[in-house]
Symmetry: C2
Subunit: 181 residues, 2 copies
DNA sequence: ACCTGAACACCGTTCAAGT
DNA sequence: ACCTGAACACCGTTCAAGT
């Protein structure tokens, strides 16, 4: 990448992170370009879709969740590992308000820049779930997609101003439904 | 209301119902006016907000849910009454894709045209929940707002194409978490 | 190679002008 | 009273023209 392009790219990411944090995942791309002092076409050149931009911003967190899943699998009892990871996932999805909807759409759309990350996330959850199920700690009639859906629903709840105060409690309620005993 | 106004009003409702069913609760109001063969200002005159339009379209269903709650309270055991009504609520929220978000926002906003209906809905749920709790059929650490949040989350799940097939199963899972035994 | 911003086709909302 | 549609301030997306 040419030096000037690199500079634009990096600065766009800084500005995008700030704007998306402030306004949510559906923030105006025009506004991001404007605040970055860059032409709108430049943003589109570096990030052809909103998902591509988010993927770049979320990559580190996605990777961290994968690492965390592996660590928990190695170090914690099945039940605790699963719950702890689910909590991390819900917290992660709060990075940008409204990102959950994009992730849910992305897991169904192989063309989405977020597709791979979401599929990996579901796969990691599926492993932790299977481990808990083998241990008798989680009900057997729930699968990785169900888990992904529940995490998404809980993250969505936390994005709704009126319901956010209940999110932590409802996490316990819903998690309790997946776990046995 | 003048005869010509009445005619526009009625026709707008017919067209709006069709367009919202087809495109979801965030459908273009311009498109509705266009398809109704009416000026955009006419739509705004009759329905000053999107919520006002939805409130008019959903009024019958809201009322039916209230009646249903009262009937179930009188005729069914606490546990079954609660579950049955929750199922009705989730089904109702599927009338228009995306309406759940508006309802969740409305319950916090006294200015919203949907506010009253949503508050009534929560109140009816709270009554059925209290009855179940008194009967020992529902866990005591969940309240009407939690219930509203869970219904909203389940309705939201059903609106996501990739997760909709799991909605019925997850309804059972989540409902099972609220019920005891 | 890369950047820019005008152009296009859309929104929601308001309101002056018409009947 | 009621209706209309232009006007305004926004979008996302594309692409010809510039450097």
């Amino acid at each position: 990448m040419r030096a000037d392009a690199r500079k634009n790219y990096d600065h766009l990411l800084v500005v995008a992170r700030a704007v998306l944090t402030e306004q949510g995942a559906d923030a105006s791309l025009r506004d991001i370009a404007r605040r970055a002092g860059v032409g709108l076409g430049t943003l589109y050149r570096h990030f052809p879709t909103r998902e591509a931009l988010l993927e770049t911003l979320l990559r580190e967190s996605f990777d961290a969740l994968a690492v965390q899943a592996a660590e928990l699998e190695a170090s914690s009892p099945p039940r605790e590992a699963l719950v702890s990871w689910l909590r991390d996932c819900v917290a992660f999805a709060h990075a940008y308000r409204g990102v959950t909807e994009l992730m849910v759409a992305a897991i169904e759309d192989p063309e989405s820049a977020l597709h791979g990350s979401c599929v990996s996330m579901r796969a990691a959850g599926t492993r932790l779930l299977a481990r808990a199920q083998d241990d008798g700690a989680a009900r057997p009639d729930v699968d990785g997609t169900d888990l992904f859906a529940l995490v998404a629903a809980l993250a969505w709840l936390g994005d709704q101003p009126g319901l956010a105060p209940r999110a932590a409690h409802l996490f316990d309620v819903v998690t309790g439904a997946v776990l046995t005993g």
